[in-house]
């Protein structure tokens, strides 16, 4: 029997067609992977199923019945649960409160009673949580378990999991898979979104691939392979292959020593981090999301002040400098989230000029002509598909990222800090960005590449440092690194 059937789903946002005539079937009792590149429309499709978006066109059947899903309430009633990519928990409430939120008929609320109920459910489903803890005190892994329990508590028969492993270390991933397999035996059907082909091959029964918002096809796991899936996803077989020759790296230019910083939720988001990096070198910083990458990016780019430690650029202390002064000192940087690192309401030219306003000021007045001309130059050089007066907001992600790169690199910085530079970019843009980073290295810059994409790290870096719970677990030359070795470091083992 089909647990879910989605027929002819289309959805657009403004000018973007996120889903176009998508067909998707979930059998009862299977784990079904939804695969696709960033922006392929996976999340959108699932948000439609969960009632967070309304499809422009298309029909949804659940257990054979045609459903009108207007809101998550309808979806929950139909037995659909979702663990979203970005957790939807209320940090100031307890685990129990979060789990019963929106799902209790009782008018009154007894903390004790709900905690008991949640604890009982936790045992019944084998998903362990501490029901009286405040969510804001939980780790990401714990939060995810709360999300899963929240769905199961609502009697979900169909569980959507949007990139659940992105925030987990391998051991946690194993635990998650065990639970999923057990739950499936007890009648749960699971839709599992992931970018990681090996995970898909491990745990799923069938795979549906989306590309550019369209269904490419559905295959049985047994009848496919990682390579075939990859080809379905991307539409071609090319992967960036950086020919790695052992080259000589230059002088040490950038030195981080005993860096400690506090984050929003943890006291020590970064704990005594030290590394150095040379000219003509790319240092990759790997790690599972949430282990301090954001804080490291913020500290290195001058947005967050460290509580302790030093950063030296060519021997000069820069850890207390403002972002503006860092630029002056010879640092180029790209933000973790290009939407947050740029200003959508300003024009492309203004965004490009923003980092270096002194250079564009004549007699205290903005030199509009120079801003415009330089923007044209950079647009040309970085192949940005836009004109200087376009609002940045109207650019696609790839072009936005190119603007960011143009701004950061055109001053030929000595050090480049690139954080998640290809997140959410399609293959073409990704290739461009990676090529650009390698060119920077070859030009003589020291490049720090912070990325959660291990393949990217392995492909670009000369050395790899692994970040785990705010500490550097080890720095390995890429020539000696294997995915297994780095994976163990990322999991905090050894």
């Amino acid at each position: 029997m089909l647990a879910v059937e989605m027929k002819g789903i289309s959805k657009h946002f403004g000018l973007v067609q996120a889903n176009q005539d998508v067909h998707f079937c979930l059998e009862s009792g299977e784990i079904h992977a939804l695969l696709g590149e960033n922006g392929a429309g996976k999340t959108t499709l699932m948000r439609i199923l969960y009632g967070l978006y309304r499809a422009d066109e298309g029909e949804i059947f659940i257990n054979g019945n045609k459903m009108e899903i207007h809101s998550p309430k309808d979806a929950i009633a139909a037995g659909v649960g979702m663990v979203t990519q970005h957790f939807t928990l209320v940090p100031t409430l307890t685990v129990a409160e979060n789990i019963v939120l929106g799902y209790t008929n009782s008018l009154t609320l007894s903390q004790k009673l709900i905690e008991q109920k949640v604890q009982a459910a936790s045992e019944r489903f084998g998903v362990s949580v501490n029901s009286s803890a405040l969510v804001k005190h939980l780790s990401l892994g714990e939060r995810q378990r709360v999300e899963i329990l929240k769905a199961l508590y609502r009697n979900a028969k169909i569980l959507i999991m949007d990139e659940p492993t992105a925030v987990l270390v391998p051991q946690e991933v194993d635990i998650l898979f065990e639970s999923l397999l057990r739950l499936v035996k007890n009648g749960l059907s699971v839709i599992f979104i992931s970018h990681k082909l090996n995970e898909v091959m491990t745990v799923c029964d069938r795979v549906t691939v989306l590309r550019d918002g369209k269904t490419v096809g559905t295959v049985n796991k047994n009848e496919t392979s990682r390579e075939k899936l990859a080809k379905m996803m991307v539409g071609r077989e090319t992967f960036l292959d950086t020919q790695r020759s052992s080259r000589k790296t230059g002088e040490s230019v950038y030195e981080v020593k005993d860096l400690t910083a506090s984050g929003q939720q943890v006291v020590k988001a970064l704990d005594n981090i030290s590394f150095t990096i040379n000219a003509n070198e790319i240092l990759g910083i790997a790690g599972v999301s949430g282990n301090g990458q954001s804080e490291l990016t913020k500290v290195l780019t001058g947005i967050l002040k460290p509580t302790h430690g030093s950063i030296k650029l060519e021997g000069q202390e820069i850890s207390r400098l403002s972002p503006g002064d860092l630029t002056e000192a010879g640092l180029g940087r790209t933000p973790e989230d290009r939407h947050e690192g740029t200003i959508g309401d300003l024009t492309v030219a203004e965004n490009l000029a923003l980092e270096d306003l002194n250079n564009y000021t004549k007699n205290n007045i903005l030199d509009q002509k120079k801003i415009h001309e330089d923007a044209l130059k950079k647009i040309d050089e970085f192949q940005i598909k836009a004109s200087p007066n376009d609002r940045l907001r109207t650019l696609s992600g790839g072009n936005m990222q190119k603007v960011v790169f143009a701004r950061a690199l055109s001053r030929r910085p000595k050090v480049v800090i690139a954080s998640q530079p290809t997140r959410g970019l399609d293959v073409g843009a990704t290739e461009y960005v990676r090529k650009r980073l390698l060119e920077e290295r070859d030009r003589g810059a020291a490049v720090i590449l912070i990325s959660e994409d291990l393949d990217e790290i392995m492909a670009l870096s000369d050395r790899i440092a692994v970040l785990y719970e705010g500490c550097i677990k080890g720095i390995v030359p890429t020539s000696e690194a294997t995915a297994e070795k780095i994976g163990l470091l990322m999991a905090g083992v050894c």
Binding site: Y50, P72, T92, L109
Partner: protein
């Protein structure tokens, strides 16, 4: 106990009554993530509608009910603008205050004409408990609404912290995305918080016309709504602490009047400005720890 103290306590409760109602109303709105600067106007509207309905029907209770309904409507208007349409909350709140005050004054003229003596009603009588006791008697010689105001505080606390509805309100003020994903209609929830809030604000305003004065005049609210805004912050969004703030404010204004009569020459303005100054100091001390509902001022849009 000293008669001075007894009188002071009684006056404190009386002055605090409209503030307690309206501050709890604002608390509901802010806990749900909406800063309702329409409070001053809603109180004014409540004072006007309560009085008008009571004077037309001769029933104070109908007046009170009408005031509450007018407050609910004001909440709905705020909801339409700031929740449904997602308009900037300060601007829509200030606009609503301006609208409701001028609309009340306009309607007052249309309904009551240009009266020489302000039309009046027989307002609520004092409800005396412990009337034999020389100390408690005068303190507990209050209007029914004052007792209700005090009684409603634990009720609001209970609703917020011990009911499902309260849980939903607290959740939506902190993280509307999560609340939405939990299957709760964010718009309806915020709208209901604004309606309850509006009703409480309007009842607070109507206390002045229906109980305290029995008549409606132009300067009737005289900035009390802004005091309530600061009391919510002063009380750190907690109903019990809000009561303390309201009593402090009531106490200061009652004390000021009494010290004047002792012949003490005090710049009374300092007293009147005190609650505002204290709130700023409280904010300074709490600083970034002030527990603003995280989603306050942020409109929620699903797409």
């Amino acid at each position: 106990m000293d008669e001075f103290i007894v009188g002071l306590i009684a006056a404190t409760l009386r002055v605090a009554t409209p503030l307690i109602f309206a501050t709890l109303g604002e608390l509901f709105c802010e806990r749900a993530g909406v800063l309702n600067l329409g409070i001053e106007g809603t109180m004014f509207l409540g004072a006007f509608v309560g009085f008008t309905a009571a004077s037309m029907t001769g029933s104070l209770w109908i007046g009170l009910l009408a005031a509450a309904i007018s407050g609910i409507l004001s909440g709905l208007l705020m909801s339409l603008l700031s929740v449904r349409l997602g308009v900037n909350q300060h601007v829509s709140g200030l606009g609503i205050t301006l609208l409701l005050i001028s609309l009340s004054l306009f309607s007052y003229r249309i309904i009551f004409g240009e009266s020489k003596i302000p039309p009046s009603i027989n307002s609520f009588d004092l409800l005396k408990i412990f009337s034999d006791n020389p100390v408690l008697g005068p303190i507990f010689s209050q209007y029914l609404l004052t007792y209700i105001a005090i009684a409603i505080i634990p009720v609001v606390w209970y609703i917020l912290f011990r009911t499902t509805f309260g849980l939903n309100i607290r959740a939506v003020g902190e993280n509307p995305e999560a609340t939405d994903a939990a299957g709760i209609n964010v718009y309806k929830l915020r709208t209901s918080a604004l309606m309850i809030g509006g009703a409480l604000m309007a009842i607070g305003g109507s206390f002045i016309t229906l109980a305290q004065l029995g008549s409606f005049t132009f300067g009737i609210i005289a900035g009390r709504g802004w005091v309530c805004i600061s009391l919510v912050i002063f009380g750190n969004w907690h109903p019990i602490k809000v009561l303390l703030g309201a009593l402090l404010f009531g106490g200061v204004s009652a004390l000021q009047l009494r010290l004047q009569l002792k012949g003490l020459k005090l710049p009374y303005e300092i007293f009147l400005a005190l609650p505002y100054i204290v709130t700023i100091i409280a904010l300074t001390i709490a600083g970034r720890n002030a527990s603003y509902p995280a989603a306050l001022l942020k409109p929620y849009k699903r797409e």
